[in-house]
Symmetry: C2
Subunit: 192 residues, 2 copies
């Protein structure tokens, strides 16, 4: 890695490289992402080669991968035919992209698999038991992805509100139930 990068930037890049394996990306991809994220301006492939000290071909392939995941954006500067790259600078946008990619790669295939498996009529008690377990798992994943599909439509501000609220949401729900109960008892005289 280029030694003239500020030390905090160096360790940021190294950290992302190391975490890469835990996140399912490789070292170079992690490092390039970190470099682009922290860089104050878009970089071209050769900038990255110089900054990280990896091969040109590795940079080319890694950028391709990051682009396919929508984690980096391609930019062009006037009078320069090189490709420049940045990360989206809104961290909430990055979060959405990450979540979407993870769901697509890590959840959706299993969801389809379970859906298919649950279509088949069980041939014997052993298969019936297996299906029952798969049904539990399927129901859970459906519930989670349903929530996600719902929540991902929220604008950032509302999403932030929802996060800030956290577990207190259920308190709020109770309150609302009481109010509704009160309202309906006023109208038709029975509890809900």
């Amino acid at each position: 890695m280029r030694p003239d990068l500020p030390p905090p930037v160096q360790s940021f890049i190294l950290h992302f490289g190391e975490m890469g394996s835990r996140w399912g990306i490789n070292r170079t991809v992690g490092q390039i992402y970190a470099l682009l994220y922290i860089s104050p301006r878009p970089l071209c492939a050769d900038d990255i080669v110089e900054a990280l000290g990896v091969s040109r071909s590795n940079v080319s392939m890694s950028l391709r991968e990051l682009q396919s995941w929508n984690l980096v954006l391609l930019r062009h500067l006037p009078d320069d035919r090189r490709d420049f790259f940045t990360t989206p600078d809104d961290v909430w946008q990055i979060l959405r992209t990450l979540a979407e990619g993870r769901k697509r790669r890590e959840i959706d295939p299993t969801l389809s698999f379970l859906r298919e498996a649950l279509m088949e009529p069980p041939a014997n008690p052993a298969e019936a038991h297996a299906q029952a377990k798969m049904r539990d798992m399927h129901a859970l994943i459906e519930q989670l992805t349903g929530w996600y599909d719902d929540v991902k439509t929220l604008e950032t501000e509302r999403l932030a509100t929802l996060l800030a609220l956290g577990a207190r949401v259920t308190k709020l729900l109770e309150t609302k139930d009481k109010i509704v109960a009160l309202g309906s008892s006023k109208r038709d005289g029975r509890k809900t």
Copy 2:
């Protein structure tokens, strides 16, 4: 793999083996987990060797890994000193365990890293810019983990309610705001 397993069970196991690489676990670990999850009774190591056709030592190491992640439970049967293994059968419990493990392995190290990096005073404008970017990322992760820490304390039923509610929570919030506003305007005659 043992051919006398019901075909749906076989494909379930194979699916988990294949997905393993996307989930950051290896094939054997994925298969063992799937087998234990779907099995109607606890299995011992040799059962697993027979069912999956992998080596005894591989099973031993994979079980160790699953145990370290709290994804399988060790059981003992009377008058049998072999170790038997199951998965917790409440899928919500499994979800909690998975979430906790992922947070610990994939988020916490980065959170600590960022915290540390933000303690240092920036030595120049470049470092100040790097810190600003890290601060954005840190704030986002704090918000997410804060929400998670909060929500994970909910009992399953409330958690399910919250999920079912999804994005409608914010509608609810508005409603509540109106009610509060109404209440306070009744009391002190001004809008909020």
